[in-house]
């Protein structure tokens, strides 16, 4: 029998159901927007199935730590890096520069 992935939680034990909601932050909308733009017909650089593969292979620890939109962005970056479209190091350099501007 195939081993069950950590994302495959249908029927798993879980606590009491709490109907909660959270605000939808701009950076989350922006990363979804980027994914949509890259996924559409002309570019075809990151399909929804690839995003799913991204978060089903990032490892259970990271999957468990990240929120839904963090997971999707992490998966998108991994897929784009795998295809040689962006490099994580370049993105990290930008993050560091932004942090410096923020604290500077």
């Amino acid at each position: 029998m195939a081993q069950r992935g950590y994302h495959d939680i249908g029927g798993a034990p879980a606590g009491r159901f709490l109907p909660t909601d959270e605000p939808w932050h701009f950076w989350e909308k922006q990363s979804e927007a980027i994914r949509n733009l890259l996924g559409e017909g002309a570019r075809r650089m990151a399909s929804l199935d690839e995003i799913r593969r991204g978060f089903e292979t990032m490892g259970e620890d990271l999957y468990g730590q990240l929120t839904f939109y963090e997971r999707r962005l992490e998966a998108l970056v991994r897929i784009l890096e795998e295809k040689g479209i962006v490099s994580r190091a370049d993105l990290e350099a930008r993050v560091v520069a932004m942090r410096e501007r923020e604290s500077g």
């Binding site: 879980a14 939808w24 932050h25 701009f26 950076w27 909308k29 980027i34 990240l66 994580r88």
Partner: protein
């Protein structure tokens, strides 16, 4: 950039997250900007395209689902099309369904449908917008398929024991939406007025349509 997430640091293959409140902008908030700037720099997307796509993401909402349901309650021919080909029926009202197929299932006096996505959080976003946080959470994903009646009760929806619950598990290529039952006492209502009885939760099957 707001401080909605704590600081984080990417270290080789590990992302470390510090969830403290009030810290600098979160790692993923910055990564989102970094990716945008990088892709713009590569000439793959433009800032204007990103802005328009964000607007497009914000545009859908329950009102679109309510329009579809109220039309189906009024027009048997439209209802038949809706149950046969959800995407085509939505597009007939000028509502564009994204890359996945829309499949609409009907609640009847004998069958109640409940929508979930156990593997991630697939949802008819191009019609209803973003799913609520509870739909994306582990508890709903895990329990909706094993004890739907209990989950419904915890949500305040008590179904008679003789109603069968069909749980519909969505995926990346197929999005379910419920056609709730038309409430009694609305036979002389206009389509516009009927739209007001359709709630998000009734389109997911977590509740029934509002009673007049």
């Amino acid at each position: 950039m707001s401080a909605e997430r704590g600081a984080g640091a990417y270290l080789g293959t590990k992302v470390l997250l510090d969830r403290e409140e009030g810290g600098p902008a979160g790692y993923y908030a910055l990564l989102s900007d970094a990716l945008r700037d990088e892709l713009i720099g590569l000439g793959l997307i433009t800032a204007a395209q990103v802005r328009r796509e964000v607007e497009r993401l914000e545009a859908p909402g329950i009102h679109l689902g309510a329009r579809i349901v109220a039309r189906a309650w009024m027009d048997p021919e439209y209802k038949a099309l809706l149950l046969e080909n959800g995407s085509e029926a939505a597009e007939r009202l000028g509502i564009k369904v994204g890359e996945a197929q829309l499949v609409v299932v009907e609640n009847t006096p004998r069958v109640h449908n409940l929508i979930t996505c156990t593997l991630c959080s697939c949802y008819p976003r191009s019609i209803l917008g973003q799913p609520p946080a509870w739909y994306r959470n582990k508890v709903y994903r895990a329990r909706s398929v094993s004890e739907p009646r209990k989950v419904l009760e915890e949500f305040g929806t008590h179904l008679p024991a003789d109603i069968v619950i069909h749980v519909r598990d969505s995926n990346a290529d197929m999005r379910w939406m419920v056609l709730p039952r038309r409430p009694d006492g609305t036979s002389d209502w206009s389509e516009e007025r009927l739209q007001g009885l359709v709630t998000r939760d009734s389109l997911i099957g977590i509740a029934e349509a509002l009673q007049p």
